[in-house]
Amino acid sequence: MVKITWISLVASFVVYTVFINVLCHNKTPTPLTKEINQGWEIWQNKNCQACHQLYGLGGYMGPDLTNSTSKVDVAYIKAVIKSGTSRMPNFNLSNKEIEKVVAFLKWVDKSGHSAVDFKNVHWTGTYIID
């Protein structure tokens, strides 16, 4: 009985994992281009996630940047990356590299909204995100 329960749970885990990989989206994702991928690599190599969040995941030193490109002027974002701020160091990125990071942030922005609107909270306590 113990063995059967164990095997059934693991089998459900495998099926669930496949399902998540294939069916996790609620809309068609924007394709990943070479420039976006390179921007993502810079984000990773400079460890931006230590201070910034995407969808609330990451560090708390700086703001969540999920929807930064649609809420803040892109020129301002580029200036901040270029020179740093009182709390953010200057990473000495070239203009080309900054363009790539911004392309990555725009791509993330298109994937959805990070904040859940109050109207999406269902009476059971869960969210219904359109």
Binding site: N21, C24, P29, P31, Q49, M61, G112, Y127
Partner: protein, 437 residues
């Protein structure tokens, strides 16, 4: 313990010390970042602190399994060679990770922020650890004690989730940001469940050894709770991604599974009386005190986790210091307490002189009190920022900082006291390692 095991134990304790010192520096650097950002940047300190803490827990968990499991058993020679090579390579890989951090060479994902190729070394080591463990498993009689099953489950699922966590290195998994983040947090969430299986297995093993009641590891209740924990390992990671605009059914599944943890909470409350009578019987044992401390932290963190698992509440707490409180409360209060209890048992810390015991006890009390303050101040910081960010809709991060800064001062100071407490007790473990020939 042989020489290699002694050195691996020392290595694990050095990682613990590193994580504590770096944690305190990171906490103060977070508050005074304007002044130290060029010398002590958070993007460098945070991964160093987090990796030291993670590897202390994972190394400590594997070490305890090796040491407890091989007691009174003959070790197959080939298994020992595989294990020894893996232990050496594991330690080298961790040192390589820190060298990369020192030179600001990052590259991985959240919590594993080192260049991706090092994951391959860690993976090889873990395969070696698993081979060693499962060679023992084969020799076990048909009716295995529950802790043997928990150790095996933890080791196997750490391997699976570690591979899953590294799937981002294959382009297909990066083609959608939502998919990548979902898989990352699925793997990370389940990985915590995996090392919890290893550590709770050790806790159960210790309970059997201290009380002398072998039947604890075979009773039906422990099997039921093993399956409850296992189900949570497999499916209860969803609260990390509630805010992601994924398909709604994923959130509903995660919410439903996480609510099964109420059963655990009710069981803890029902068992309080029994725990209290056992505490009176074994309170003189240092290892037992650590186990009792871990039970207290399980209780507190479970309440917090249950609230965070309700999406309507998670909407406020997500991305705030409440999440940090939960992570710190779990890694320090539960994981580290069980590991220290187990090491205290293995290294016979109870045999120290009465005068030293009093000092050790003082260190233990300092850790517990400062950890409570540390934990509460993080929750307070989280609640303040949640109120301002979600309720008042203040999105400028600089506007939120003044309201949380007092809580952060308390948090950093409590962290410093916690470091002092650990600095009092850790030398006894180092002495114990040297004596354990």
């Amino acid at each position: 313990m042989d020489k290699l095991e002694r050195n691996y134990t020392r290595f694990a304790f050095i990682l613990l010390l590193f994580s504590l010192v770096l944690g305190v520096i990171t906490a103060f650097s977070f508050i005074f970042h304007e002044h130290v950002k060029d010398y002590l940047p958070l993007q460098q300190l945070r991964p160093m602190h987090v990796s030291a803490a993670l590897f202390w827990i994972i190394s400590g968990a594997s070490l305890n399994i090796f040491l407890h499991n091989q007691k009174d058993k003959t070790i197959p020679k080939n298994a020992l060679s595989i294990r020894n090579v893996s232990i050496v390579l594991w330690q080298i890989s961790i040192v390589v990770i820190f060298i990369h951090y020192i030179f600001k060479q990052f590259g991985g994902r959240e919590y594993w922020e080192f260049p991706g190729w090092i994951s391959l070394l860690l993976l090889l080591c873990w395969i070696g650890f698993c081979s060693y463990y499962f060679l023992f498993w084969k020799n076990e009689p048909n009716k295995r004690p529950q802790y043997i099953i928990m150790w095996g489950t933890g080791m196997l699922f750490f391997l699976i989730t570690f591979i899953e966590q590294n799937l981002w290195q294959i382009t297909w998994f990066r083609e959608s940001f939502l998919q990548e983040v979902t898989i990352q947090w699925k793997a990370n969430g389940s990985m915590v469940g995996a090392w919890n299986q290893m550590i709770y297995g050790t806790s159960l093993y210790l309970m059997v050894q201290i009380s002398g009641k072998k039947e604890i590891a075979f009773d039906k209740k422990s099997i039921v709770f093993y399956f409850l924990g296992f189900t949570n390992l497999l499916f209860n990671w969803g609260h990390h991604i509630y805010n992601l605009p994924t398909n709604n059914w994923m959130r509903h599944v995660a919410y439903a599974i996480s609510m099964t943890e109420w059963i655990l909470l009710i069981n803890i409350i029902q068992g309080f009386k029994k725990t209290l009578s056992e505490t009176l019987r074994f309170k003189q044992l240092i290892s037992y005190r650590f186990l009792i401390a871990s039970e207290f932290w399980v209780f507190l963190n479970l309440i917090l986790a249950l609230f965070m698992s309700i999406p309507a509440i998670n909407r406020y707490t997500h991305g705030t210091h409440v999440t940090v409180a939960h992570a710190m409360g779990t890694t320090i209060g539960i994981n580290s307490m069980i590991l220290l209890g187990s090491f205290a048992y293995l290294l016979k810390i109870d045999n120290i002189q009465m005068k030293q015991k009093k000092l050790f006890h003082a260190g233990f009390i300092i850790i517990q009190v400062s950890l409570v303050i540390f934990w509460l101040s993080l929750i307070a910081a989280g609640v303040f920022s949640a109120y301002e960010q979600t309720h008042l809709g203040i999105k400028t991060y600089a506007s939120i900082i003044p309201s949380v800064v007092t809580s952060l001062y308390v948090f950093a100071t409590a962290g410093l006291f916690m470091l002092i407490g650990f600095a009092i007790i850790i030398p006894y473990f180092f002495k114990g390692i040297s004596k354990s020939k």
